[in-house]
Amino acid sequence: MRTTEESTPVPDPALGEYAAMGSVALTDTERWPTLDADGLARVDAWRARPDAPVWVHATGDRLETADLAVLEQVARLRQEPTEPAWVAELVARVHATVPRWRRAAREGRSGPTTPLGDLPTTSRADLADVAAHVPLDVPLDRVLEGSSSGHTGAALNVPLHPVSVAADLVLLQHLVASAGADWRADPARLGLVNLVDQRASFTYVSAMTAFGRPAGSPAPVMARVNLNRSVWRADGDRERYLTAADPQVISTSTLPLLRLLDLARDGLDLHPVAVVNGATDLPPAVRDAVRATWGCPVIDLYGLRETGPIAASIDGDGHVVVPRRVWVEVLDDQGRPVPDGHRGEVVVTVDENPYLPLLRYRTGDTAALVRDHRGTVLVGLEGRAPVRFLAADGSWHSSIDATQVLQAYGLAGWELLQDAHGTVRLTALPLAGVPVDPTAAGDAIGRWLDRPVRVDVVTDPSAFGTGKPRRFRSDAALGQEDR
C-alpha cells in the first residue's frame, strides 16, 4: 500500500497527528476481522492506485461476526410516534450505571422511575467530563476515540463503539433506498466516498462489511478522500482517481460538495446514485445544483457526533427523525416543552452508542416539531451554518481549518471574528491549568489567512454564552463580492 514513501508536509507544526500514517496501530486483519484475503486485496487495490492521494491514515470498521448480526437488527428499527418503552428503561438503567445519574440518585435529585420530562437537560459543556456519562458496566475494550471537531468550537472527545459507527452505514442504506435510489454493491466502483476539503484530514480506504447485501457477495469498498489539492501527488490525480472510483454514494458536507460541483462543471464525470450531506446546513440552491448535475437524490442528514444521526431530509421539506433509538423533544429557553409546530431547541434522548447513552441532550439547534405521515418531523432546522473566512489573497477558507489549528494550540474555547474589512479578532479561552500560548494560536490563524490577528484572552467560559458554541463569524463577504 502506498502511504509513507511520499509524505506531504502538515500545514501547521501543531497538526502532527495528520502526518501520513502517524496514528495507525492495527493490522488490516484487525481492522476488518471478517474480511477474507480477496476483500483485503480489494481494499489494497484502491489504496495503491498510482493516482491515489497520499493516505494519511489506515482504519477499518473493526466489526466482528457477532456485530453483523446486531446490525441486521438495527436495520429493522422503526421510529415511534409516542415516547417508546426504551426511554423509561434507559432512565432506569442510567441511574444505576452512569456516574452522572448515579450521583443524581444519591443526592435525591432524580431516580430510576423519574419521568423523562422531569429530568434536567444535558449540555455540550457537561460532556467535557465525558467519563461521567459513560456507563460503568460496558467493557472498554472496544472503545474508539471520536473527536467532534468541525464548525463549532472546542473539540469533544466522544467515546464511540464500532457497532454504532457502522450503524450509520445501515441507516444510509435505508435512507438511500427510501429516496428511491438503487444502491447495490458494484465491485468496479467505490460504494461510498466520504469527501472532505481541508488542509489536513484523516483519509483512508476501508471495506464496508456491514453493507447489507446478498450472502456471498463481496463487501463494497469506501474511501475517505480530501479534495484539497495539497494531498494529491500530481495535477489531475484527484480527477483521475475520482473518475475511476465513480463513487455510488457521496457522503460529505456543504463546502466540499460545492467544490465537487465545481469540479463536475470543469468536466469531472461522476454518476452518484445519491448524495448525503451532513454537519452543515444544505441550502436549497445546493440541493438543486446536485439534482441538476447528477440527477440523483440528496439526503441531508442531521446529527451530532455525540448523539449520532437524529433526522434526515430526503425532499428538503423538513427532517424526519430516523428509525433509531432516538427520541426528540423541542424545548423553550427554560427547558419546557413547546407545542408541536412552535420553534424551540432540539433536545434528544438517545440509546445507540453503548458508551454514551444520553438523556435530554441539548443540541443547540432549533426547529419546530410536527408529526405527519412520514413520522416525527423537524421543520426549519437551523444552526449549522458553515463559516468561511477571507484570506489576504482573496481565497476563502473553511472554519474547520481554524478549528483544527485552535484545538492543536490547546484552546478550550474561542471566538474568531472577521469584520467586513477583513480584520480578524480572536478571543481565546485557554484550558485551565494547562500551559497554553494564545498568542501562538493567533499567529497560526495569521499564517492561515495571511492577515494580522488581534488576540484577546478570556478566562471564563461564560464569556462565550451558553449552549452549543457558535464560535466563528465572518462578515468579510459583506465587504467583498463572493467568488
Binding site: 496514528s23 495507525v24 496501530a25 492495527l26 481492522r31 491514515h57 489506515a58 482504519t59 477499518g60 470498521d61 473493526r62 456516574p99 448515579r102 440518585a105 444519591r106 435525591g108 431516580g111 430510576p112 465525558v130 467519563a131 461521567a132 459513560v134 460503568l136 472498554l140 475494550d141 472503545v143 474508539l144 476515540e145 471520536g146 467532534s148 468541525g150 472527545n157 467515546p159 464511540l160 459507527v165 457502522a166 450509520d168 452505514l169 444510509l172 461510498l192 466520504n194 472532505v196 484523516f202 483512508y204 476501508s206 464496508m208 469506501m222 475517505r224 457522503s251 460529505t252 458536507s253 448525503v276 451532513g278 454537519a279 442528514l301 446529527g303 451530532l304 457526533r305 449520532g308 444521526p309
Partner: protein, 214 residues
C-alpha cells in the same frame, strides 16, 4: 420504615410530631456506662422495656432468639448488644415514647412494644458494626446518627422536621450510606481513569471508518 440506609433511593414517609431530635441526642449523651458492660443482659432489658411501654410480656421464643443474636458468636464483630441497650435507654424517655407521632406509629405496629421491637430489630440491621460502641454516645455525629435511625426505623419524623429535611439529614449522618457513597465514587473515579487510558490507547485513536459527517 424498612429501607436500609445504604439504599440509594430516598424514603419520604414518616409520621410527623415525633420526639425532638435534641432530646434524643441529649439523652444519648447521658446514657449509663453500664450499657456497654458485657455482663448486662440486654435481652432482659428489652423484655423490661416492653412491659413498661404497654404491659406486653414477650414470649420465650422471641427472647431466646434475641439472646442468641445479642450474645452468640455472630455478635462478636457486630456489637449489637450495646446498640440495643441504647435503644432501650432512649425509648424509656417519656419525651420519646410519649410523642404524639410515636402514638400514631405505634397504632400501626400493634402497640408501643411492637413499635419498639421494630426499632430493636432495625437498629441491629442498620447500625451494627458501623462504629466503635462508645462512639454512639461520645461523638456528636454518631449520636445524631443513632437518634435519626431510631426515628426512621420507628416511622416518625423528628419534631418540626419535614420528610425531605429528615431524609437529607439522615443520609448526611448515616455511616453506611456515606460508606456506600465513598465506595460508589471510588468505583467511578477508577472507571474514569480506565476510560482515559482506553481512549489514549493508539488502537482507540485509530478509530473506525466513518460514513457520514456530523
Amino acid at each position: 420504615m424498612d429501607r436500609r440506609p445504604d439504599d440509594l433511593e430516598r424514603a419520604r414517609a414518616g409520621h410527623g410530631d415525633g420526639p425532638p431530635l435534641a432530646a434524643l441526642v441529649h439523652r444519648l449523651a447521658l446514657a449509663p456506662p453500664d450499657l456497654f458492660e458485657p455482663s448486662v443482659s440486654v435481652s432482659a432489658l428489652v423484655a423490661d422495656v416492653a412491659v413498661s411501654l404497654d404491659g406486653t410480656v414477650l414470649d420465650r421464643k422471641v427472647l431466646r432468639a434475641l439472646d442468641a443474636d445479642l450474645t452468640g458468636p455472630a455478635d462478636q464483630a457486630l456489637h449489637r448488644a450495646p446498640l440495643v441497650g441504647l435503644v432501650c435507654w432512649l425509648v424509656l424517655d417519656p419525651a420519646v415514647h410519649g410523642a404524639p407521632g410515636v402514638a400514631a406509629a405505634a397504632a400501626g405496629a400493634g402497640g408501643r412494644s411492637g413499635w419498639f421491637l421494630r426499632i430493636v430489630d432495625g437498629v441491629q440491621r442498620v447500625l451494627a458494626g458501623q462504629r466503635p460502641d462508645r462512639e454512639w454516645v461520645q461523638d456528636e455525629v454518631a449520636r445524631e446518627e443513632l437518634a435519626r435511625a431510631v426515628c426512621r426505623l420507628g416511622g416518625v419524623l423528628p419534631a418540626g422536621e419535614r420528610a425531605e429535611t429528615a431524609d437529607d439529614r439522615w443520609l448526611a449522618v448515616s455511616s453506611a450510606y456515606q460508606r456506600k457513597v465513598a465506595q460508589s465514587m471510588a468505583v467511578e473515579v477508577a472507571r474514569a481513569e480506565e476510560l482515559a487510558r482506553a481512549l489514549a490507547a493508539q488502537r482507540a485513536k485509530e478509530a473506525a471508518a466513518q460514513y457520514a459527517n456530523y
